[in-house]
C-alpha cells in the first residue's frame, strides 16, 4: 500500500498540471503505461502521443516528439475516457430547487427543445464527474412524449460549442402500458382510465409521426420546386422530427417494460425508422432475443437498480446488460444519474460481475457507447487520429480503490480539481497543527 502511495505521489510530481492549474493543450507523451486501447487490445509499457486535440501515436515503440511534455506512466494505466449514454448532467443543479432545473419544458410534444442549449458548462457537478474518468455524457431533457434532443457533450469547455461531441439524439418517451396494479401516490385512476390514457398516448404518438411525415413530404416538395408556391407554414415541432425520419438523427427511444419493448420494436419497424436506439431497457433481458433479432442497440441502465417486479430475482438489474450482450444486442451502459454520473464505472463494474465480464463492460462505457452515439470516429478508444479523451489511473477504473490521476479531454490536460476535492483539502486537517499530516491527497497534491 505504502509503495503504491509513494508511486502515486512520485507520478503526481511529474504531471504538468503541477505547474499550471489551467487546462492546456500541447504535445504530451505518456510513456511506459499499460494502455487499454479497447479497439486493439492492451499494450504493456506503451506510449501515447497527443498533439493538439488528437492522438498522433500509440504503441510499444513510439518516438517521442521533441518538445513533448513527458508523463511517466510506469506502473499506471491509460484508458479511453468513459462515456455515459444517459444522464441529466448540466441540466439540473440542485434537485429540489426548481429554479435550477432545466430538464422539463412545458408541453407533451416539444422535440424542438435542445438540451445543448440549457447545459450549464459551469455546473459544479461537471468537474465532480470528470475526475472519475468520465469524459463524455449524453445529457437528456425529460418529460412528455417528445421532450427534445439530448446532447452528447464532453465535460470540459466554457460554451456549448466547445463541449459538444458533435451528436444529438431525439428523445421519445415511449408510452407505458399500465399494469393491473394501482401505481404511485395520490388519487388513483381506475384501470379503465389508465388503459384509455395509454391508448390515447399511442394514438397521439402515431398522429405526431403521421403529421411529421406529411410535413416532411410538403417541405421536401416545396424545396424541390418553390417557384410559384406559397411557403408552407413553419412548424418547429415537425421540423425537429424530420431528421429522425431520414435517419440523419438517431431516435433515442426510452422504454423499459417487456410489453412496451415489444410494442416499440414493432412500432419502429412499421414506421421504417432507419436509426433508432433504445434507452433504459430495464426488462430487456425478458426479450433479449427479440431485441437482438431487431438489431436495435440498447443504452442500458441504471445497472445499480432494483428489479422491476417484486417476483424477479434480486439481481436482475445487475444482470440485464450482460444478458442482452450475450444475446447479441449491442449494449452501452448509462447511469441515469445527474450529480452522481461518477458512478458510471461502478454501474459497469456490477454489470461485469453479474455476467457481462470486464471486457464487454468496458466497451459498454467506451467504444460501444461511442458507436451507438455516432461519435466513434472521434471517441471511444485510444487510436491514432481520434480525439484525445483519456485518463491515467492506478488500476482498473471500475474498482473503488483505484485513483484517477490525470485526465485529457479533447487534448486538454484538465486539472484534477472539483469542489469535492477542494473541500477535502480544506477540511481534512482543518485546525492546523492539531492533527497528524495527511497521508495522501487525490490528484495533484
Amino acid at each position: 500500500m505504502t509503495l503504491l502511495l509513494n508511486l502515486v505521489l512520485a507520478v503526481l510530481m511529474l504531471l504538468p498540471q503541477q505547474q499550471d492549474q489551467k487546462a492546456r493543450q500541447g504535445t504530451y507523451a505518456i510513456t511506459n503505461a499499460r494502455i487499454e486501447t479497447v479497439a486493439n487490445g492492451t499494450i504493456e509499457n506503451g506510449t501515447v502521443v497527443i498533439e493538439g486535440d488528437r492522438i498522433i501515436a500509440v504503441g510499444a515503440n513510439v518516438a517521442i516528439p521533441a518538445g513533448a511534455e513527458v508523463i511517466d506512466g510506469t506502473g499506471l494505466q491509460l484508458y479511453p475516457g468513459m462515456i455515459d449514454s444517459g444522464t441529466n448532467l448540466g441540466l439540473n443543479e440542485v434537485g429540489s430547487v426548481d429554479e435550477t432545473n432545466d430538464t422539463n419544458e412545458i408541453g407533451d410534444i416539444t422535440p424542438h427543445m435542445s438540451a445543448l442549449t440549457a447545459v450549464n458548462p459551469n455546473s459544479v457537478a461537471i468537474p465532480v464527474t470528470r475526475v472519475s474518468g468520465v469524459t463524455t455524457v449524453v445529457s437528456e431533457s425529460a418529460g412528455g412524449l417528445l421532450p427534445g434532443t439530448a446532447a452528447v457533450i464532453n465535460l470540459y469547455g466554457y460554451t456549448a460549442e466547445q463541449m459538444t461531441a458533435g451528436s444529438e439524439m431525439l428523445i421519445l418517451n415511449f408510452p407505458q402500458e399500465p399494469s393491473g396494479a394501482a401505481q404511485g401516490w395520490g388519487p388513483q385512476r381506475s384501470a379503465q382510465e389508465r388503459k384509455k390514457g395509454y391508448e390515447d398516448a399511442i394514438a397521439k404518438l402515431d398522429e405526431v409521426f403521421d403529421r411529421a411525415e406529411l410535413y416532411d413530404r410538403i417541405m421536401t416538395a416545396y424545396a424541390a420546386s418553390p417557384a410559384g408556391k406559397a411557403e408552407p407554414v413553419y412548424a418547429p415541432e415537425m421540423d425537429a422530427i424530420r431528421p429522425v425520419l431520414s435517419g440523419d438523427r438517431t431516435l433515442m427511444l426510452k422504454v423499459n417494460a417487456e410489453g412496451d419493448i415489444l410494442k416499440a420494436i414493432d412500432w419502429v419497424k412499421e414506421r421504417e425508422l432507419p436509426n433508432v436506439v433504445f434507452s433504459g431497457v430495464s426488462e430487456g433481458w425478458r426479450v433479449a432475443d427479440k431485441l437482438a433479432e431487431a438489431g436495435i442497440a440498447c443504452m442500458v441502465g441504471p445497472v445499480l437498480a432494483t428489479p422491476t417486479r417484486s417476483s424477479d430475482r434480486y439481481d436482475k438489474a445487475y444482470a440485464n446488460a450482460g444478458l442482452l450482450s450475450q444475446a447479441g444486442v449491442k449494449v452501452a451502459i448509462r447511469s441515469g444519474e445527474t450529480e452522481n454520473v461518477r458512478n458510471l464505472p461502478f454501474n459497469a463494474g456490477f454489470a461485469a460481475a453479474y455476467g457481462m465480464g470486464q471486457e464487454e463492460a468496458l466497451k459498454a462505457v467506451t467504444l460501444n457507447a461511442a458507436e451507438v452515439l455516432g461519435i466513434s470516429d472521434d471517441y471511444g478508444s485510444i487510436e491514432v487520429g481520434k480525439k484525445a479523451n483519456m485518463f491515467i489511473s492506478t488500476g482498473d477504473p471500475f474498482e473503488p480503490s483505484t485513483q484517477i490521476l490525470a485526465l485529457f479531454i479533447d487534448g486538454f490536460n484538465v486539472p484534477m480539481e472539483s469542489r469535492h476535492i477542494d473541500l477535502y483539502r480544506e477540511f481534512l486537517n482543518r485546525d492546523e497543527g492539531r492533527l497528524q499530516p495527511m497521508e495522501v491527497l487525490p490528484a495533484d497534491n
Binding site: Q183, F346, E399, R430
Partner: protein, 470 residues
C-alpha cells in the same frame, strides 16, 4: 401462477420453521475471515453453535450434525448493519406535529416486504428502521434482524437493542411545518433553523420538568401513600427517557451549524449519545464532533439533491474518520442497501481508507451507534452468528455476496436462490406485470424508492411533481 404461490408458501413454511426457534449449528470452512476488529485470518473456520459464534480457528472439530459450508477461496465478513433504513415499514412519517416522540416504528414493521430479502442478498443482517424526517423530534425507531420468512413482526426485533429516536433539523421540518398549507396559511414553528432549536429546547425542558415531577412524586410516595401523581404523558415519558440516556438520539441533519447547535442543546440536558444521520456537512465540524463524542452515519456520495447538501463532499466519511469521529455508511434506500459493501468501498476512492476502516463503516461502527456492538458488528467468539460470505473481496466492485446467515440461520444462498421469493402474493397486486418506473432524476431508480424517499423526507410535493415528469 399456482406454482408461484406454492413456491412462496413453501418458502414461508421452511423459513418460518427455521427462524422461529431452531438454532442451527454451522461451520464455515477454510475462508479468508475479515473479522474487522481482529484483523484478517486466512484459511480459517468459523463455527456457529446455537446461533452464536463459538469458535474461530483452523481445522475446527465440530459437533455431529453441524452443517458444513466450504468457503475455500471466499471471503467471510460480519453481517452488514444498515444504520438508516426504511424497508419493511408500512408507514414512515407521523408528520402532524413538530414533536411526535410518542410514536414508534415497532408498530408498523411489515415482515413480508421483499426489501428484507433483497438486503439480505447484499449481506445485510441488521437494519435500523427509522421514522421519517418531517418532525424536529420524530418517532422512535426499531432495530431489526433480517429474519426473512417469519410472518410475525416481533420475530424481526433485535431483542435487547437499545431504544432509539429520530430527530430532524433543517429543510425538512421547516418545510413540512413552517411552510404548511397553500402559501403557508397553515404554517407553525419551525420555519427557520432558529425555530428548530427552540422546538428542541421546549421539548427537552418540558421533558425534564415532567421527569422531575415524577421523581418528586415517587419520593413523596414513600412517606405519603396519598400523594397525587402527575398527569401521564407518553410524549414526555419518551423525552424523559432520552434525558435519562435510555433512548439514543439519531438526528437527520445536513448543515454544520445545525449539527453544532444540537450538540449545544444536548449538552444542556446531559445527553451525550448522539449519532448525526446523513450529516453531509459534518466534515466541516469534525473536530467539534470528535470532542463531543458524537457519531456520524453518512451517505457514501449523495449530494446536490437539495440545497442543504449542495456544499457536500464524497470525502465526508474519510475526513470524519481521520478526525476521530466514529462513522458509518448507511443506505436510506431500498436500492443502495443491497450493495452497502460497495458504498463502503467508495471511502477508498474518496479518502484512501484502509480495508478494515472501510469495512468498519458498515459493521462495527453502525453497531456502536445502535448500541448493539456487544452482539454484532465483528466476527468474534460470543457474538451472534450473523455472517456474510462473498466471492471476491467485499470491497471489490466484482464482489458477489453468496450466502448470508442470521443467528446461524441461512437466509440467503445465491446458488439456491429461487428467483421469486415472495412470502405473500397479493391477488390485487401486479403479478407478472411491470411494477417499476425508471426515473432519471436524482438517485431514484424506481417508484418505490421515490415513495421511500418522500416518506422519509417528509411531504415533498415539489419532488413528487418533478419525479413524476419522467
Amino acid at each position: 401462477m399456482k406454482l408461484v404461490r406454492l413456491t412462496g408458501l413453501l418458502m414461508a413454511l421452511l423459513l418460518v420453521n427455521a427462524t422461529s426457534a431452531i438454532a442451527q449449528d454451522v461451520v464455515i470452512r477454510n475462508a479468508t475471515v475479515l473479522t474487522v476488529t481482529g484483523g484478517t485470518l486466512e484459511n480459517t473456520d468459523v463455527l456457529i453453535t446455537g446461533g452464536i459464534i463459538s469458535e474461530i480457528g483452523k481445522g475446527l472439530r465440530t459437533p455431529r450434525g453441524t452443517e458444513e459450508v466450504d468457503a475455500t477461496g471466499k471471503f467471510v465478513m460480519p453481517g452488514i448493519i444498515d444504520a438508516h433504513s426504511h424497508i419493511a415499514l408500512s408507514s414512515v412519517n407521523e408528520g402532524s406535529s413538530p414533536v411526535t416522540a410518542e410514536v414508534s416504528m415497532e408498530d408498523v414493521v411489515n415482515p413480508y416486504q421483499i426489501g428484507i430479502y433483497r438486503a439480505s442478498a447484499g449481506g445485510v443482517t441488521t437494519s435500523h428502521l427509522m421514522h421519517g424526517s418531517a418532525n424536529v423530534i420524530g418517532g422512535q425507531n426499531e432495530t431489526v434482524k433480517h429474519r426473512w420468512g417469519s410472518s410475525d413482526p416481533n420475530d424481526l426485533r433485535f431483542e435487547g437493542a437499545p431504544r432509539t429516536i429520530k430527530f430532524a433539523l433543517g429543510e425538512n421540518p421547516t418545510r413540512v411545518h413552517g411552510r404548511r398549507g397553500t402559501g403557508g396559511t397553515g404554517a407553525i414553528v419551525p420555519a427557520t433553523r432558529m425555530g428548530v432549536e427552540q422546538v428542541l429546547r421546549n421539548a427537552f425542558e418540558h421533558g425534564k420538568r415532567y421527569m422531575e415531577a415524577w421523581d418528586a412524586y415517587d419520593a413523596e410516595l414513600a412517606s405519603n401513600p396519598r400523594a397525587v401523581p402527575p398527569v401521564w404523558n407518553e410524549r414526555m415519558e419518551v423525552m424523559a427517557d432520552i434525558i435519562r440516556g435510555e433512548v439514543l438520539v439519531h438526528c437527520h441533519s445536513y448543515r454544520a451549524d445545525e449539527i453544532v447547535m444540537l450538540t449545544r442543546v444536548l449538552k444542556d440536558y446531559g445527553v451525550d449519545k448522539i449519532t448525526f444521520q446523513h450529516a453531509n456537512e459534518a466534515f466541516k465540524v469534525a473536530p467539534e464532533l470528535a470532542a463531543y463524542g458524537a457519531h456520524a452515519s453518512v451517505f457514501s456520495d449523495w449530494w446536490s439533491y437539495k440545497f442543504e447538501v449542495y456544499y457536500s463532499t464524497a470525502y465526508n466519511a474519510a475526513i470524519l474518520i481521520r478526525n476521530g469521529v466514529i462513522t458509518s455508511i448507511n443506505s436510506d434506500s431500498g436500492e443502495l442497501n443491497r450493495h452497502l459493501y460497495h458504498e463502503a468501498a467508495k471511502t477508498q476512492r474518496y479518502g484512501n481508507l484502509e480495508d478494515d476502516e472501510a469495512l468498519a463503516t458498515i459493521t462495527i461502527n453502525p453497531a456502536i451507534q445502535l448500541g448493539i456492538q456487544d452482539r454484532v458488528g465483528s466476527i468474534e467468539i460470543g457474538k451472534d452468528g450473523d455472517i456474510a460470505i462473498f466471492e471476491g473481496h467485499p470491497l471489490s466492485v466484482y464482489a458477489v455476496p453468496e450466502m448470508t446467515f442470521v443467528d446461524g440461520v441461512k437466509v440467503f444462498d445465491r446458488a439456491a436462490d429461487p428467483d421469486d421469493v415472495r412470502l405473500e402474493v397479493d391477488p390485487e397486486g401486479a403479478i407478472g406485470q411491470y411494477e417499476g418506473q425508471i426515473t432519471s432524476r436524482d438517485h431514484f431508480h424506481d417508484q418505490n424508492e421515490v415513495i421511500d424517499f418522500l416518506e422519509a423526507f417528509g411531504d415533498l410535493e415539489d419532488v413528487i411533481t418533478e419525479t413524476t415528469h419522467n
